[in-house]
């Protein structure tokens, strides 16, 4: 019963990988990595039940939390790279009040 979901998730992982290899901008690749992370969470949860070892669910919980940190880190560093002010002008970083 779990095989259908496992195959679907593995296929989607391949598609996300293709997008990560293909994507013209960096944001496409970040999107692909985020998708890949969520698919890995689902894959781990399904495989844990496929093997009959429910104590593997700790891993799925871990990935669900870690995936988020990776995406935010990329956004922070890429943003601070492109918007950093030149040594001439002062802290005029363009602000958006709502995310």
């Amino acid at each position: 019963m779990y095989y259908v979901v496992t195959i679907a998730t593995l296929l989607t992982m391949v598609l996300a990988l293709i997008r990560a290899l293909m994507g013209p901008t960096v944001y496409d690749r970040v999107l692909a990595v985020n998708m890949f992370g969520t698919k890995t969470v689902l894959l781990v949860a399904v495989i844990a039940y496929l093997f009959g070892r429910p104590d593997f669910l700790d891993l799925a919980l871990a990935y669900a939390l870690i995936n988020f940190i990776g995406v935010l880190a990329v956004l922070e560093f890429f943003r601070s790279r492109t918007k950093s002010p030149l040594p001439g002008d002062e802290g005029k970083v363009s602000e958006v009040s709502e995310g």
Binding site: T6, A20, V44, I47, R81, G99
Partner: protein, 331 residues
Amino acid sequence: MITLFSLFLLVLLVITAVAVVQTRNLFAAVMLLSIFSLLLAANFLLLDAADVALTEAAIGAGISTVLFLGALSLTGEREAPRKGPRLLYLVAVIAATAVVIYATFDKPAFGDPQAPVQTHVAPWYLEKTPEYIDIPNVVTAILGAYRGYDTLGEVFVVFTAGIGVLFLLASGPGSGSKRRGSRLTEVGQVTGLRHYLVPRVVGRLLVPFIILFGLYVQFHGEYGPGGGFQAGAFVAAGIVLYSLLEGEKKALDIIPRKVLMGMVCGGALLYSAVGVLGMLMGGNFLDYSVLLDNPVAAQQVGIILIELGVGLTVTGVLLSIYHAFAARGRA
């Protein structure tokens, strides 16, 4: 069927590795490395190695990505063009790979029950653990009790790596601003992701859960996948998330550098202290069974103490390295 899944994931791994090497844009390479680490962790899971998969996920996909990005913010974004005889390198790599593949022909088959590793030491560990240590997770028993001396070496390797990186990169708030101009460093330290409201609110909601999960993994290491290394990586990841959202200055206010250094040294000292305590109470170095009256309970207490030491050192080192990168100013 499981073998098919494993093979499939390994093919994806090779494709990702080739792509990482080929691409010239270093941000793309970092993203692909994150995917590589997730694929590797899924592979470990299919091989039934949960502890290793957890460590690989926590350190590879979480902390390593952040550290690579921190390094990229200090250097350029494109790789410099390669020089040198590429054909010669290719031939050398193919020759080395051929030798290694030839060497694997002599190994016992995968999962062979008659292989030496399955007939000498492994059954002894599996049979004697309920009698001597009595915890369900044999991996932690091996790591903490039977091969505790090796784990002491690992902790000291992590400690030395942290000290090495801090020698190369450390800058107090003073020297960083002298290098780049104080205004730029101020801007770089004040922003963080605070202009994005939604990630900030949700992220701050998640930080206590990540740290709680890290503590859960630390103390649950005897019953399920877990232990000191994974727990250290998770707690460090939680605090890195806080630092990304609120700016690095606030994260340094919460856990100052002195406390971080205290954690780095204190963890390794705690581990060695447990060992010396064993000697003082009449046993050998790192012999836990003399710590209490009941030798089985003493082994469990010993394992908990050394895992605590490991967790402290790993957290301290990862956070110190992150702050060392992030404090160099954003170029």
